[in-house]
Point group: C2
Chain length 467, copies 2
């Protein structure tokens, strides 16, 4: 484990590398870098450094490496597992200044971007040219593509278009010692050596810092429509997931949302939401070439959901109305954070087990005296189970104990269903003690040897992923 | 490098592990294991062993590891880069007896298979349940899923559905020392530790032996149609690729085939092919929910191709006629092998550079007095460039020298266009000396450290991938 300190000599050399104004250690400026979106988790770095390009990232890492100072890379700080929290002090390396869309290559169907680009900005830049960056995390308006890559973010459209890993074809990597490794490129397929790109995606900043990415762009679907189906109960809504998936082509989004979860989003957006008394909803999007094809898809899915017990089916094809509904959905996480004390579990199970997961998660909450509010990407088996503090936890210590116990119960429940710990948020700090529940000692040992292949001294994002 | 020998004691212990009839060292039975489909490449192992399941694979690897004997894993032997050729002697470990489809999990959309299953058998088993295993190597009737995984095979439908890596969600891995590591599973997304599954796909048997795989199944497209567009020249046909891709949704196959290449396939199939005098053809498949949607897609693409200079456009929607055309396409490789002496380059470039690749490949052949016959998956920039011996090479040595020089020129041409060495066949033995043209020394060093993380003694498939 690195044990060096950020002394004046190092600060001076960092300032030489990136410019004085881009290195700082004063508490006020450093404070925003002490936490991400993980409730109840923070740690102070000794300093923050903001390089501007690959060469500066390399220089910063080399200086830290020589000084034995740990480095925590950071994107937008929208993570929910603490991967960007500098638990070991040292330097925070923010990639926020590497924020350019370098190229939209229409002919080859790729974007070349720096990691600090906001996901929605790339979506918009691609759409202007009739192209489509498919990964769509709920936090797209604020999260960075670099963070999406490092967590292998999923989001709303993964059910049809896959996760971030499926869209990353090239990366420029900077290793802990500062060496720069170009990997992949604009080739749709490439069997020429190991898949370094595929390995680094989802490694949570522990293997390499990404300074440039080549991301696939698809043809932009010309038409889109949304369907909202309220259900009397959460299990009934969960049962509708399979009905929707089996009715035909895969929808472009298939979200399961408890009515109370929508309530938090609606409160943030200061708006109302249809059927506020329904215990749960399915929110289903279809996309396609023509309005007729989309309408046919939604009609088919709607019929399947009514058969599966939906109270009603509302359809929206007008762009503004769709955006309003999605905005409420996207605001749920912000609402939970604003209005509750909670612990989130990013559960994932094989998709047909989502009903079982819903039942077991509720039982885990009840056992420990916590409320449970769930929502998420049910079409790919990924449900954000949120454990909410109630009046039964009199002290913060009681709350933490109950939350930790219930959290572990939910993870164990998902694993018992063939699931995993985290579908898209990553392990970070928050889940690392649970990693041995998912992976055998041999598998964890192998991962640690892979870590050492990239970063033998353990300088990069120490204290993350591994127990 | 491992230096142990297969002695009587080891053979006896192997026989105890897998049964006497499944270990052999006599020349006649061993001969089929000395080569794959790579012309002009063979090597003799000391013995061949055929375990039946994960436990036996583990036992075999542990015994070899303790004896210091190298192991070359082998699937169906349909590879084209020599990855299954035992260049270092020792043991060939055939996975042919692990040949069961263990489960078609309709609810979750996954198949669980052993590596020795023939790809087409899984496609058929899935289709019987209305499901679709999308990866479709031309050799699907004989290749193994395990080989597809280890080369990250692409095939005819990668342009729409991606390569094998995009469909592999779980693997049971056996490392060189015999340790068994389960990785991934039936979750559509999983950000819980490093992506071991994604790393092992495409590693050509150098990191681990795969004994079980969880493969994604999609809903089976209900309708399908094929379009053949002859062009007067190969560059004109290459130009049509971009026209087809830009005309709307991505087709499910987009093949560029020289007329002479079709000729080799037609000769194998003892059939005729339309427009035999056209210098090149595009073969385009569309799939979708309804015959009307597919017909509309093909009409749109056909119009774009006529605009791009196609001589004519023939459409086939009758299943039998489509299968006849595809059968000729799939037989090209067999025809080349049967009727020519050739060296194949599995070139890949960013897809908009395919016309440049065609031009540079022809120039490379001409420079060295070789014929060039190209065909392949132009929709994803992957073109199989075949360098054919002509009467100008009087001796085998002259032929080898010309082939090697032209081969390297084609690879350099692809790289100069932003491409890579191999799109889907892998590096194996054949391309390993060229790896440094693609990757920096730092990147190759990192890959070698990853190799050591899996296999510190270098026991598994030595002499492959690395220069």
């Amino acid at each position: 484990m690195p044990e060096g300190r950020v002394d004046h000599a190092l600060l001076r050399r960092l300032a030489e590398a990136v410019g004085t104004e881009h290195v700082f250690a004063d508490r006020e400026r450093v404070e925003p870098y002490t936490h991400d979106e993980t409730q109840g988790l923070s740690a102070w770095p000794e300093a923050v450094v903001l390089p501007a390009d690959t060469a500066e990232v390399s220089a910063v890492l080399r200086l830290a490496y020589e000084a034995g100072v740990p480095v925590t890379p950071r994107g937008a700080g929208t993570g929910k597992s603490g991967a960007a929290v500098p638990t070991h002090g040292g330097l925070v390396l923010s990639l926020a200044r590497l924020n350019r869309i370098l190229e939209i290559d229409r002919e080859n169907g790729f974007a070349v971007v720096e990691p600090g680009v906001i996901t929605e900005d790339l979506q918009n830049a691609a759409a202007e040219q009739g192209l489509f960056y498919a990964p769509d995390p709920a936090s797209r308006g604020s999260c960075h593509l670099g963070g999406n890559i490092q967590t292998n973010a999923g989001g709303l459209r993964a059910v049809k278009y896959g996760v971030t890993a499926d869209h990353v074809f090239g990366l420029t990597l900077v290793l802990a010692d500062g060496s720069v490794i170009p990997a992949g490129g604009k080739n749709r397929k490439d069997s020429s050596g190991y898949g370094l790109v595929r390995l680094v995606v989802g490694s949570e900043g522990t293997l390499a810092v990404v300074t440039r990415a080549v991301l696939r762009l698809l043809p932009l679907p010309k038409s889109r429509g949304l369907l909202l189906a309220p259900f009397a109960s959460l299990p009934a809504a969960a049962g509708g997931v399979e009905a929707a998936l089996c009715s035909g082509p895969t929808p472009s989004a298939l979200e399961l949302v408890e009515g109370r979860a929508f309530g938090f989003g609606a409160r943030i957006k200061e708006t109302a939401f249809p059927f506020p008394d329904a215990e749960a909803h399915l929110l289903v999007e279809a996309d396609g070439e023509t309005p007729e094809a989309v309408a046919a898809d939604l009609e088919r899915i709607g019929a399947a959901l009514l058969d599966a017990g939906a109270i009603d089916v509302l359809t929206a094809t007008e762009r503004r109305r769709m955006e309003e509904l999605w905005a409420v959905r996207r605001a749920i996480a912000e609402g939970l954070k604003a209005y509750t004390t909670y612990s989130g579990v990013d559960s994932v199970v094989p998709r047909a087990r989502i009903t079982d997961l819903v039942r077991l998660a509720r039982a885990a909450g009840a056992k420990h005296g916590l409320d449970v509010v769930s929502y998420g990407h049910a079409g790919d088996g990924n449900l954000h189970v949120n454990l909410l503090r109630t009046e039964r936890q009199k002290t913060d210590a009681e709350w933490r104990a109950a939350a930790d116990a219930a959290h572990e119960d939910v993870v164990r429940a998902a694993l018992s269903l063939g699931g995993s710990i985290s579908g898209e948020h990553g392990i970070g700090v928050k889940e690392r003690r649970l990693l041995p529940l998912r992976h055998t000692p041999e598998a964890i040992g192998l991962m640690q040897r892979i870590k050492a292949a990239f970063d033998p001294k353990g300088m990069l994002n120490p204290g993350k992923v591994f127990p």
